[in-house]
């Protein structure tokens, strides 16, 4: 009996150890996840986004985006490489410098456009 208990707890420990990475791996990051993640988009470092905590204020708040970017391609271009519009911008060139993959830039663009 004692042995069963210990092997059950071993299984549980293993399961908890693996559950997290498996879940994250299985569930793809959404545009919002990417935008909020500190290592990937980290847009909150500089922009207020509704629902994000402790935003910075180096860039303008990301609100009413459809009004400001009727053409989503312009928005994508800003996120891919902000230095094209403003060479001295503080905004990192997320696509051009490979901070985000092309697919991730697409997802972030769609999410930001929805704000």
């Amino acid at each position: 009996m004692k042995k069963t208990i210990s092997s059950i707890s071993a299984v549980i420990t293993l399961a908890t150890l693996f559950a997290m990475p498996l879940e994250v791996g299985a569930k793809e990051m959404s545009g919002k996840d990417l935008a909020f993640d500190r290592k990937l988009g980290n847009c909150l470092a500089c922009h207020m986004i509704v629902g994000g905590s402790q935003p910075g204020n180096m860039g303008p708040p990301l609100i009413a985006m459809k009004a400001r970017f009727p053409d989503i391609a312009t928005l994508r271009a800003q996120i891919h490489d902000a230095t094209v519009a403003n060479p001295n911008t503080m905004m990192p060139p997320f696509g051009a410098h490979g901070i985000l993959s092309a697919d991730q830039v697409d997802k972030v663009t769609a999410y930001i456009h929805s704000l």
Binding site: L44, A45, C46, Q54, P55, G56, N57, M58, T83, N88, M90, P92, P93, H97, G98, I99
Partner: protein, 286 residues
């Protein structure tokens, strides 16, 4: 009579090597423009106010800062720095013997242009050189004993004025200064940010929860004691060049080795921009 005056003037010129050397006009113009920008952008702050960095930008933060400075968390290590400074080397000499000026003035000499060696010398390099010339082992740089002793000198120098001189007419000195200036304004790293992006254009703004300090006045209180360093490494003290490395890493650029030309020249430029500001002694930063 005229001849005598000229001779005297020439004599004065020759005797006044580094300490009295005249500031390069180009450098002085940079300093005026740099300080003018900050004074215009933050009309409520005086030149000396900028020494308090992010705390000068917010009354709340200033109150927190002042509360912490009532009982500074760095007193013990600063005292150790003083003890190390006064402790004789194996040969019986102390650190003081490496300088001709009083202990309180040493910090104000740096960073300086050494024309004979053709390079910039920092206070921290001066400490290492002093160890070596007295037959002692070198210390690790950037933190620990190295930073504590440098902080001791910063504390002694409190109230004196930063005065970095790029001697007029010295092309090599001006080249070192310009190298540091280029470094300061160049975008780098995967995040493509220059020092100036964050500490000139971004001064006073927030990156997430951190308020960015203005470049002006960053040199007044270094080595600094940072809560963040104390938490992660147990020793909150860090020299200016330790901080440069941290700010390079933040933008995912490879940091340079401390006390080589890149950071030495950067420190030459960066410190000169705060000329005329008072050294404020050792201070706390988040």
């Amino acid at each position: 009579m005229k001849k005598l005056i000229i001779t005297m003037a020439t004599a004065a010129l020759f005797s006044s090597t580094s300490a009295l050397a005249q500031q390069s006009a180009a450098v002085q113009a940079d300093i005026d423009a740099f300080q003018g920008y900050f004074l215009k952008t933050f009309p409520n702050l005086s030149l000396q106010d900028f020494s308090k960095g992010p705390y000068a930008m917010s009354d709340d933060k200033m109150m927190q800062f002042e509360a912490i400075m009532e009982m500074p968390p760095f007193e013990d290590l600063l005292e150790k720095g003083g003890d190390l400074w006064n402790k004789p080397f194996a040969n019986g000499h102390t650190f003081s013997s490496c300088w001709k000026v009083s202990d309180a003035e040493i910090r104000t000499l740096y960073p300086r242009w050494n024309a004979a060696k053709g390079k910039v010398e920092t206070l921290e390099q001066g400490l290492i050189d002093c160890l070596v010339s007295n037959g002692e082992k070198k210390w690790g740089t950037g933190k620990g004993k190295h930073a504590w002793v440098a902080s001791h000198l910063t504390t002694l120098a409190e109230g004196q004025v930063i005065n970095v001189v790029v001697p007029e007419g010295d092309a090599a000195a001006l080249a070192a200064y310009n190298d540091g200036k280029r470094f300061y304004w160049a975008k780098r790293g995967q995040l493509n940010l220059s020092c100036a992006n964050c500490h000139v254009g971004g001064a006073g703004k927030r990156v997430r929860g951190n308020t960015l300090s203005p470049a002006l006045g960053q040199s007044t209180h270094f080595p600094v004691w940072r809560g963040k360093w104390a938490k992660s490494k147990g020793d909150g003290f860090g020299t200016m060049q330790r901080r440069y490395g941290g700010c390079n890493k933040q933008v995912r650029a490879k940091p340079f080795k401390r006390h080589k030309s890149q950071y030495d020249n950067l420190e030459f430029y960066h410190t000169a921009m705060s000329n005329g500001m008072e050294i404020s002694g050792t201070e706390y930063r988040e």
